[in-house]
């Protein structure tokens, strides 16, 4: 280890260069460097924890890294075993606790998702809102992603809609509404090369899948929520560019079913 007893003090170079730190300072800084890099090393290598000892080992530096906003797992959260099985379930790990630096794994969650709120009068509001780009767009995406990720897990899928429901309803000026999380499926390269508009259109109605749907309303201080069965397909949400609904009359002809 770089102990001050073993290493010679750093000499000034050519009489011009400033000297390095004193031996005591080097020892102190080396210790802090070691502690910091050790904490990072644990966070980079121990994101899947099995034994209580490994969990305990990870936990202490985890607090430190959490304070600094660096406590993210660098992996995608999804591993394909040699048997072909996905492990663990892609739905269990929070997206926002992952660094997402890998950009894609070609997973069902690696596509755009949208939140749509519509009431009985036919009014509807969509997030990300039309015109949101860059960081703004991505923040709405993260919420929609999280809702899609939790969808289908019986005891957790309503947590996020219930927590955000009051704000969503207030934002849309609605008393009660249907909340949907919509997934926009991607085209395969062959589809993008096709001359068939139903295949070629990236916003075609057939590409929209509802992954979560619930009736939502407020009673007093409580947000009430009734989960509905998700539909495999439904009409398109608001077109971000034009503000019209794809698949609705007056929209792009290519979007017609």
């Amino acid at each position: 280890m770089p102990s001050s007893q073993r290493a010679e003090p750093l000499p000034p170079e050519a009489g011009q260069e400033p000297a390095g730190p004193s031996a005591q300072m080097r020892t102190l800084v080396s210790f802090l460097l070691f502690a910091h890099l050790f904490s990072l090393g644990l966070s980079w290598t121990m994101w899947r924890l099995s034994s209580p000892m490994r969990q305990a080992l990870r936990r202490f530096p985890g607090f430190y890294l959490q304070l600094l906003g660096m406590d993210v797992a660098p992996d995608s959260g999804i591993v394909r075993l040699p048997s072909g099985e996905l492990y663990p379930s892609p739905r269990v790990l929070p997206k926002s606790r992952r660094a997402l630096w890998h950009l894609t794994q070609g997973d069902a969650l690696d596509v755009d998702h949208f939140l749509v709120l519509r009431d009985e009068q036919g009014r509807q509001v969509q997030w990300p809102p039309p015109g949101a780009v860059g960081l703004r767009y991505r923040r709405y995406q993260m919420i929609a992603w999280e809702m899609a990720r939790l969808a289908g897990i019986e005891d957790t899928e309503n947590v996020l809609p219930a927590a955000l429901g009051r704000g969503l309803l207030r934002e849309a000026g609605m008393q009660r509404a249907t909340l949907e999380c919509r997934r926009l499926l991607l085209r395969a390269p062959e589809e993008a090369r096709s001359n068939d508009p139903t295949l070629n259109d990236p916003y075609h109605d057939s590409r929209w899948v509802t992954v979560y749907q619930a009736r939502i309303w407020v009673e007093g201080d409580q947000v009430r929520l009734l989960k509905l069965e998700s539909q495999a397909e439904s009409s398109g949400p608001v077109n971000r560019a034009s503000g019209t609904r794809s698949g609705s009359p007056g929209s792009n002809a290519n979007s017609q079913p």
Binding site: L33, F63, G69, V72, S96, G134, R139, A163, R187
Partner: protein
Amino acid sequence: MLRLLIRGVTDYFQQMSLAVGQGWNRFWYQPSSPLPLVALRIAVGLLALYYVASFSPDLTRWFGPEGWFAPPAGAGQADPVGQWLDARFPLGETLYRFDDVAQRPFPPLYRLSYLTYASSDWELWLMHAAGLLVLVLFILGWKTRWTSVLALVVVLAYVHRAPLLNAQLEPVLAMLMFYLALSPCGVAWSVDSWLAGRKQSAEPSSAPMPPKRWGATVTLRLIQVHLTVLYALTVLVQLSGGGTGGMVWWTGEAMWWIVARPETALVSADWLAHHPLLMDLWTYFVILFQMAFVVLVWVRPMRGLMLALAMLFWISIALATGLVTYSLLMLAGLLAFVPAECFTGNCPVPAAE
């Protein structure tokens, strides 16, 4: 004979220990110019300013007392969703069975954000404006020792206020801001240095380079090591495969599935679909560049090439993903690898180093 052998082994370990110690000290403490850190202060500061300013259109929607992440009445939690996620996935733990943790109490959280203390919209806007002001002062280099720490606090306040909104950008931004807060990043191109120059002499200082400091080396090395590990982790995760789509980084399809997202890509997927070979090459360039960068950026003669390729790499990632701010931040981080002389227009020739 045995004694000689023991002495030889002992000498070997003593010399090895000495060499390792000297190598460690040279790597971390050899004084170096803080100019790369100064450039980082300006570049990362501008991106941090944009990051915080980008909350402005949705500030009250996200964080206001009536906003999406407002705590329910009497709940006493700043961010119920974030708290819920943290409770179930504390500190990176992967918990597969929800019933195991249904009764688990919230763990202690270290997600501190002054934004949680805003009890009205105008208080929130006041805090927001103050945060932006701190970041502007940090970029300008006014009282940099203090504003660098305050700028870190500002950025972390937004990162911690609603962790649900975080993605690629935030951990890298927090990392760079943290290291800059430890560094002498205000010694040049700053109000501080201008004021110091005025105090010392009526004439402006003619010295192009601020004096070398060992503190600059420590923070530059931390940024270099941290960034290199991020590249390594990224490529390892990409190559580890997974996902319902299969091993897309091995098959060459990955860049297609990124570009095919019509809402985010800045280049035409239709055009790329007609050039499958280009799609494959792009995917393999991403993988091979990252693998090469991890090693070759530490080889002095190769560093210039790696930095040039990194420009190409991050521009292509920005075009494909639409993650422009993240790509710019990663490009800004590469300033830590640029020789200090380059900032004064005297880039050393690799062979001469």
